[in-house]
Symmetry: C2
Subunit: 625 residues, 2 copies
Amino acid sequence: MTDTRQPATDLGLAEIAELAAQLRVDSIRSSTSAGSGHPTSSMSAADLLAVLVGRHLRYDWDRPEADSNDHLIFSKGHASPLLYSVYKAVGVVTDHELMTGYRRFGARLQGHPTPILPWVDVATGSLGQGLPDAVGVALAGRYLDQLPYRVWVLCGDSEMAEGSIWEALDKASHYRLGNLVAMVDVNRLGQRGPTEFGWDLDAYARRAEAFGARVISVDGHDLAAIDQALDAAGTGGDQPTVILARTVKGKGFSEIEDHEGWHGKALPAEQAERALEELGGERDLLVRGPLPAFDRAPEPRPGSAATPRPVYPRGEKVATRKAYGEALKWLGGLDPRIVAMDGEVSNSTHTDEFAHAYPERYFEMYIAEQQLIAAAVGLSVRHYVPFASTFAAFFSRAYDFIRMAAISAADIRLVGSHAGVEIGADGPSQMGLEDLAMMRAVQGSTVLYPCDAPSTVALTREMAGRSGVSYLRTTRGGYPTLYAEGEEFPIGGAKVLRSTDDDVVTLIGAGVTLHECLAAADELARENVAARVIDLYSVKPVETETLVAAAGVTGGRIVVAEDHHPEGGLGSAVAEALLASGTTPLRLNHLAVRELPGSGVAHELLDAAGISAAHIAGAARTLLA
Amino acid sequence: MTDTRQPATDLGLAEIAELAAQLRVDSIRSSTSAGSGHPTSSMSAADLLAVLVGRHLRYDWDRPEADSNDHLIFSKGHASPLLYSVYKAVGVVTDHELMTGYRRFGARLQGHPTPILPWVDVATGSLGQGLPDAVGVALAGRYLDQLPYRVWVLCGDSEMAEGSIWEALDKASHYRLGNLVAMVDVNRLGQRGPTEFGWDLDAYARRAEAFGARVISVDGHDLAAIDQALDAAGTGGDQPTVILARTVKGKGFSEIEDHEGWHGKALPAEQAERALEELGGERDLLVRGPLPAFDRAPEPRPGSAATPRPVYPRGEKVATRKAYGEALKWLGGLDPRIVAMDGEVSNSTHTDEFAHAYPERYFEMYIAEQQLIAAAVGLSVRHYVPFASTFAAFFSRAYDFIRMAAISAADIRLVGSHAGVEIGADGPSQMGLEDLAMMRAVQGSTVLYPCDAPSTVALTREMAGRSGVSYLRTTRGGYPTLYAEGEEFPIGGAKVLRSTDDDVVTLIGAGVTLHECLAAADELARENVAARVIDLYSVKPVETETLVAAAGVTGGRIVVAEDHHPEGGLGSAVAEALLASGTTPLRLNHLAVRELPGSGVAHELLDAAGISAAHIAGAARTLLA
């Protein structure tokens, strides 16, 4: 606790009114001092937050890590002045920090909240994500932690247009998350003008009710009404609660109340002064709301280790997606924190192996990939080890959530099956051909692409202990087991599968193309051309040393083949690593899926895309000519 | 017309029943012949399609390009056997093609429909996209074409879990699209088991009604009831219609009707034989439903050319986002087919310039980025020239739609503002740092990143005439105008801004980093180090010749600086192009945003990320040391 004064507790509504005024004043002061920010979007929700924080949120501000705390998520992350003003009011952020740190370089009170602050669960600011993330936290609370904390979310009215909000409410009611409360700050005005529904609370109410929520509509500036609504909302039950609060943007400063053109604008200093005057000037309240009503950690769950590590005889054809499923089932026995979820394709991704073994730790997300990722993020907030799976292609549906997960410093593991043209007859809509590029570009991410079952098992285990966003790409068809049981596959490593001192060309593949590289090496060997073959199973980070050594031996002649579009995938990883290393000479022949594929069987499509063994051998010959 | 027989027309319900049986039989035959596909998901919707195609869809099958045709979109694209069986029944696909082409390599009857077929508007197969795309077509019909064609969409019940479905219904009712009919095939079973709601049609009805649709619930195997529902639906009005049809998966073959475990499985030959027997065997009906009730093209809209081409004096500081808005307004006057839409940030992207000038050609999509892209795709189906804009970061919300737009061969133009750390105080949630990687990885895409106002204007014009998915990245802050009025910026080009025969290092930037490169070159010049500076405004396709020439002159010493994560962006484009060209030696120093940024002002953040002029000059010195 930064402040040494004794905080006021057991606040009555008169004190709450003072607190709300302080939150408004500090929202204005902090944003004006920063020269940017969203004071008006903070002022509309100040009464909601004052009542919540002063009388309902059960939170020990000195122990943000406590398992018993309620959670508070600002889905409307741009209202950060309000959130940070709350932090000042409860004494964990000083007025000095608020006035000199907000939105400043190197400071933690960023433009939108991130978990660099210990009281923030998830980064927000891309609208429509806080509520889905909160669903993940509430799932943990109800089904895993089995603790009676509540999850309170402040939503904006504009973000109700995001489909992800409805995915979230759908899953919240499906999973009977009575521990989840969404407070919607219906201030009528979006960034560039009125919202779709203005103050038509009934329009929102009909939708939220149809999606299974209990709805309470209130005047968002009537403290007693808010108090009553939060009381009702906080009692749990089997339904999520949506509180629709009719509010006024800029409430408290008559010059700008309900005015268009004031979104995301700090008040000029002189106008801020007039606003403070109208609001009764600066205050320096120090308050605390209720503490958690219990103080216990979740019951530890025993591991079971019922499933042995899967073993595959060399040469046996196994789909890596199948090996992933078996690995996850094995790991799930060892570590009870491992949880899994899937977008209604678990019998294709093989996450169903885990789901059948540990149904209490499996969450079916149906076909809602945004919520699939958000649930993983929310579960990681509660220190579970989530694995989320769907087809590689369909993670593109949730790219914004994956990007934000990295900013949230969430530890989530994503597994995409059915990658590339290898999938065959289903055609291009089902082919993940952008997934490596998309996942590599995520800040701090890990991207893995094993070629056989044992390496898949090893890498799935590595992922379980990996922080940040990690991604495993699996393959639809079965391919021969190449590696021995127990071989290690460190993240950031690579395997040299064929190697002599006389190698004249290097062939690099991963996943299905590794098998094509091996076949190409066989074909070249029959022509007495010695080819080095590298399994680049760790696409990010990539092991530069193995690449540099191979380039050195083989005169810089390198063929990279990937079942992916040419941009941003395996070829980029190799090119970037070798160029950064200063290796010279370099002659890279990069085979990738350059044209739009159609249907067919795997070998036809690999060949048509120019990434089959014959093309790899041909590319090597070109380099040697 | 492939078939020379006279088709049956004016079908009664008895003939419709025969047609439905044929559609089921052919769905089974085609998928069994292919050895894969979704017969059961086709059989559930066969009655819906028989009634629709036989009695309601107004379509001239010999003129799929006719402006007067209704549109038929299979949002549940996996029911392709049903769609292709319809094509056979109306005589535009032969039985031979159906039996030998479905899902085969090189054939057009792919696993999921794509516009390689002239009767298919958009590629589907990623669920929850057909209905949003249809909203775009219906917007064109009501507001631009002003023609009374209808847009009929077949949805699956599983895809109702996708948030994008609700974005679509929200916009359909907001824009009063009475010309849009969604038929939901509620067959109760998803891929791996029951859906969330099974046959609870009321649950869907409540949601669809809350989202503003007129809902009609029917027994999806009662032909008369379907007929009545389609009659009502087709009459227009101001509300979209949702027909909820209770159906049975695998309907017509008692062995598998309503059975789990039959999703996406072709019947084995012997079982298919039994199914055909139960369904009364093969048929060879040739039918045609009604033709369009009118035959006219949309009224041509006059261009206005009211706005002159924007001109910027050299040195004037202008944000490229602002120049984009002014360019779009200019182009909108020249070409009445240009339409624009935005995700509720048009005053930031500056698309509001167009919106104010041509309100009848602007569609506000509010904060629903998936629908934003889908609307553009649907409008491109009707040959409009859509520009869709939001923050660069938020296109990640719709990456699956962008990926699918490429498979749909849609011509859409995307403009993302607020790219990179340059945006400053708002922090990482608002910073597009993956957009170049994401957009480059899209099949056939174009990626542009201008550094000043005139190049932005020129490239916006280039985009208007560009096919496929094109993306323009704009910058938040104002930077000096470098180029003269009228200078050409061909897609696939690059500009050399500093060049002497004595250059010893090449500096490559685009957008904001181009200005940093120029400042770095100035700094190096003061040390008598001559640096070549390249404006790589066309990130994809990239102009290899300029890069190779620069590498040749400067001893392969190249610094690339980009306001983007290191993977898949400008640096990748340069590395891949130079390596593909065989240029040697090469020493690339690649500066990019490698750590998670926070808030700050632009120059602080550019410097902290190591992509400012000082770092670029330093990187050049390192290469020269």
